[in-house]
Each structure stands twice: as structure tokens, then as C-alpha cells.
Amino acid sequence: MNSNSTVRKWLPLVSLIVIIIAIWYLAALIMNGNQLIQNLERKKQDWTYSQILSQAYQVKRPMLPAPHQVALELKKSVFDTSVNSKRSLVFHSVITLNSTLLGFVFGSMLGMLIAIGIVHNKTLEASLMPWVIASQTIPILAIAPIIVVVLGALNITGVVPKAVISMYLSFFPVTIGMVKGLRASDTLHVELMHTYNASVLQTFWKLRWYSAQPYLFASLKVAIAAALVGAIVAELPTGAQGGLGSRLLSGSYYGQTQQIWAALLMAALLGSILVWLVGLAETALLKRRGGLTNA
């Protein structure tokens, strides 16, 4: 019964992934094959389909590398190169991870502060809230170069400019979720605190803070994914010497498709691990409060 239900749960996902990989191989065959045919015809050489078929998965700079080529590249750049080498993906991931985490921490703190201000002060709410929402309609990448130039002139370089961009992306979900959460405390409880003559500070620490926690964690998961996007995007225009974003950029300049795909896969892996870690912290904390409550 139990194993049957696990099979039923995983079968669709696994079969979908198998289908995707099959399509991937087929697309790689067609796209690389076409490229090969064009190349050979330009050189006025004869070709046969069996020749194309055998060479399609061994092109040096394929239009679309087949999954096993990406896996090999990933293995080569993660396990077979020293961690300190510039060719190692671990080296670049650590750089990106640094600015992601720094930006995430700053962003969530800023988001919480703004939310606390908004909940306790009506003037702040009316003047700040529209701009918090409007801030997200500014495409983040547009300000990335400016932040780097301005901070560079103030002698701040390296991880901080990238972290600022991560912060800009990640503060928004935290603010929105936290405002909702701080206001989500039961009216009866708020009134009870009032009858106890509790100060604003006491109401905050003993009531509102707890009602906000489930909302906070839901937002933190969004925020950490956003922080990773911010860090990667920030590495594009800043001419960064390292990081997954700069790997993408150099891969695209030199036509190293396998390198692009490997960096992309690494970023995907990093993102899902980060979200999973926040989820783990969420479960651990909410368990202490007596189980997961769906916020």
C-alpha cells in the first residue's frame, strides 16, 4: 500500500523527466546535425546521414550539448579541477554564494525593518508602501551598473555592490509577507494584550512577532531565490572576475556552450539547495510551535 502510493507519487515526475531528456537528445541531434551539414556543405564535402548521426554528439561547440556532455563538463569543472582554479565551478559558485547570502541577510533585515515601521506608523505606511511596490517595477539590472560605479568611487568593490543588488531584489517579498504576518495576529489576542495594558514593544515581542513567523518563512524562500538571481545578474555588467554570472558571460563570448549549460545547471542546483535549506529551518522552527500551520 505504502510503496504503491510512493510509486504513484513519483511516476509522473520521473516519466516527465525521461520525456524531457529524450526530447533534449533528439533536439541536440537535429540542431547539431544541421550545423554539421551546413559546415560540410560550405566546404563542399559529401556527407551521409550515418556520418552525421555518429558525429552529432561529439561536436566541440554544439548548438545544444547533449545531457551527457553537460554532465561530463559539470564533473570536469567540479571534481576534476582544483577548487582554487579559475576553471573550477566550485570556485565560481562560492563567489556567487557569498554575495547571495550577504544580500539575502541585508535584504531580509531591511524588509523586516520596513514592515515593522509600516505596521506601527500610518504615515510611513501611506508614504512608503506605494514606493516599495513601485521599486519592483524598476528593472533591477538597469541599476546594477550604477550601483557598481557609485560604490566603486567610494572605494567599495568586490562582494558588496553585488550584495546590494541581491538586497534590492530580496527585501520586497519579505516586506510584503511580514506586513501581512504582523497584521495576522488574532484580534482577540490583540485586545487581550490591550486589557493587560501591554506596551507596543510587549505586544510586538509577545504576540505580533509570533503571528508573523509563518508568513516570514514563506517570504524568505522567495527572497533567497531572488537574491541568487540578483547576484548572478549583478555579475554580468560589473565585469566581475568570478562568479556564475561571469561564467555565463565568458561562455557566451567564446561560444563555449557546455560551459554555459554547466554554469546554468550549477545555478539551478544552488538555488534549489538554498530554498530547501530555508524550508528546513522553517519546518524546524514551526515544529517547536506545534506543527506546521498553513499560512
Partner: protein, 320 residues
């Protein structure tokens, strides 16, 4: 009476600061540092003014509709005033941070260039990618809501995709679809597909079973049930995705332009003008992007309001 006196004093302080910024020669804070006190006092004046307006809002709910938009406007005005004063007062190099007035000048003087960029990035890439991505996400959700197999396969995949930085596919798309707007649209399609899919699916699944039964007793056809009962109930979720996607799409287009573009487009403009240290032009492009982003978001919000006036989340707003 006293209140009236205080607020005219506040307004006077702000006006004085305005006069200082527009008339004094650049570098006035360096010559006489005590002038900064006026800026601090006008900050205080604006805070007091905003406080009064907020109180007015709650004491006169009839006029709150007109007062409410004033508050963020005054707040932004103060920020821009402070920006202008500090840049002018300390004579900060325009390479570092251009003053709002010079950004405005750059905006006015380069309207044809900015319009060409806007057309390339927004009217071609963003609109095409956004429409295609949202439509395919919506259609896929229609399909998935009927098939449990598809749902169980696609939903974990969609959740996974929301955790990863999809903008990274931009170099691949540029390689496949060329430098022009088609590659940018392709990035946007992939970015917008999954939020739309997940939200539409959640919306369609949250429909009330009782409503469906009621439609059945009315002998409603499948399309009638869908358009009159299920789609309206899913609309709040769909609009969430539409609004989220409208900001995602602009980011996607600008990021993709960093990996190659013909010599027009907002992302191209930003990267080249940063290289030439023309920061006022960079800021002007950002203003265009921000206005375009805010207007599309606002238009979607208005559309949502007009279509969802019956929904509890909108009816509730009238009370406050």
C-alpha cells in the same frame, strides 16, 4: 489656528530649500556647511506635513480619496529635492551621481533615441514574449487541471523552476534565435510560463465544487461552466501571475540584451552609456524603464479592479 500657522511654517521651510537649490551656485554646502541645517529642517517639515495629511485622511474619510495619493507624492518630492541639494551642494561629479535636473535634461534631449530603444525592447520583445508566455502557461494549466498525471509531473517541476535563476538561459537563447528581439522574447516566454502555469492551476483547483454542481443542475455546457463559474473564480490568481510577470518580462529583456543585441534597445543603451560614463543618459533610460514598468503594472491593477469588483478582496477596501 495654531495648526494652520505650523503648517504654513513647514511649507515656508520647504519653499526656502527649493529656492536655495534652484538659485545658489553649485558647491554651496562646501562653502557654508551650516546650510545643511535647512535641509534637515525641511525633512522635519515634510515629516510633520505627511503626519497631518495622514490624520486628515482618517478624520475626513470623504476626502481621503484625494489626499491619499498626495502623501507618497510629497514623500518622493522630498527625496528628489534632497538628492538635488546634495549633488549640487557638494558639487558631486556627474559621473558618480547626476542631479535629477540633468537626468531630466538628458531625457528631454534624447527622446528619439529613447523612443527607439523603448520600441525595440518593450513593444517588440517584452510584449511578444509576455503574451506568448502567459498564454501558453494558461493553456497548459487548462490541460493539467484535467489530468492528475500531468499535474503531478509538472507541479514539482514548476516549483523547482521558481527556485532557479531562469534569466541565465539568455546566452543560449541569443545563440539560438539571433541578436534581434526574438531571442529576448524567447527568454521572456520561459520566464513567464511557470508563474502563470502554477497560479492558473491553483486558481482553477480552488474553485468551489458546489458551484460546479450548481452549473451542472443548470445543464450548463462545459464552456459555459468554464467562462461563467471557473474562470472568474480563478481570476485573482491569474492576475497575480500577470502582475508578477509584467515586471519579470522587462528584467528578462534587459538582461538578455547584455548578451548581444543590434545597436538599439534599453539594455544595450545602459551598457554602452555606462562604458562612456554618460550616467545621466543611463538614468534617463532607467526612468523610461521604470515608467513603462509602473504603467503596465498599474494598467493590470486597474483591469483587475474593473473585472474583480465583486471579489471580497476588493469589496473590503471600501470600508477603510
Amino acid at each position: 489656528m495654531l495648526n494652520y500657522f505650523a503648517s504654513s511654517l513647514h511649507l515656508g521651510l520647504i519653499a526656502l530649500q527649493l529656492v536655495l537649490v534652484t538659485s545658489a551656485e553649485a558647491g554651496f554646502y562646501q562653502r557654508s556647511p551650516s546650510l545643511i541645517l535647512l535641509l534637515l529642517m525641511s525633512f522635519y517639515a515634510v515629516a510633520a506635513l505627511l503626519n497631518q495629511l495622514t490624520q486628515l485622511c482618517s478624520s475626513q474619510p470623504n476626502q481621503a480619496r484625494y489626499i491619499k495619493p498626495l502623501i507618497p507624492t510629497i514623500f518622493a518630492f522630498m527625496l528628489i529635492l534632497a538628492w538635488q541639494s546634495i549633488v549640487e551642494g557638494y558639487a558631486i561629479s556627474p559621473v558618480l551621481l547626476p542631479a535629477p535636473s540633468s537626468i531630466f535634461d538628458a531625457l528631454i534631449n534624447n527622446l528619439p533615441i529613447l523612443w527607439a530603444d523603448f520600441r525595440q525592447t518593450y513593444l517588440k520583445a517584452v510584449l511578444a514574449g509576455y503574451l506568448l508566455g502567459c498564454a501558453s502557461g494558461f493553456l497548459m494549466a487548462q490541460w493539467a487541471v484535467k489530468s492528475a498525471f500531468l499535474r503531478q509531473g509538472l507541479v514539482p517541476l514548476g516549483n523547482f523552476m521558481s527556485a532557479i535563476p531562469i534569466v541565465g538561459i539568455a546566452p543560449i537563447m541569443v545563440m539560438w534565435f539571433g541578436f534581434d528581439w526574438q531571442s529576448k522574447a524567447a527568454v521572456i516566454v520561459v520566464m513567464t510560463f511557470f508563474p502563470m502555469f502554477i497560479n492558473t492551476l491553483t486558481g482553477l483547483q480552488s474553485t468551489d465544487a458546489l458551484h460546479k454542481d450548481l452549473m451542472h443542475t443548470y445543464a450548463a455546457s462545459k464552456s459555459q461552466t468554464f467562462f461563467k463559474s471557473q474562470l472568474p473564480q480563478a481570476l485573482p490568481f491569474i492576475f497575480n501571475a500577470l502582475k508578477l510577470n509584467s515586471t519579470l518580462a522587462l528584467i528578462g529583456a534587459i538582461v538578455a540584451e547584455f548578451f548581444g543585441t543590434p545597436i538599439v534597445g534599453m539594455g544595450f543603451r545602459i551598457s554602452t552609456e555606462v562604458g562612456r560614463m554618460n550616467m545621466d543618459m543611463v538614468w534617463a533610460t532607467i526612468v523610461v524603464a521604470a515608467v513603462a514598468g509602473s504603467l503596465s503594472y498599474g494598467a493590470l491593477a486597474l483591469l483587475e479592479k474593473s473585472l474583480l469588483f465583486w471579489h471580497p478582496s476588493f469589496r473590503g477596501n471600501n470600508k477603510h
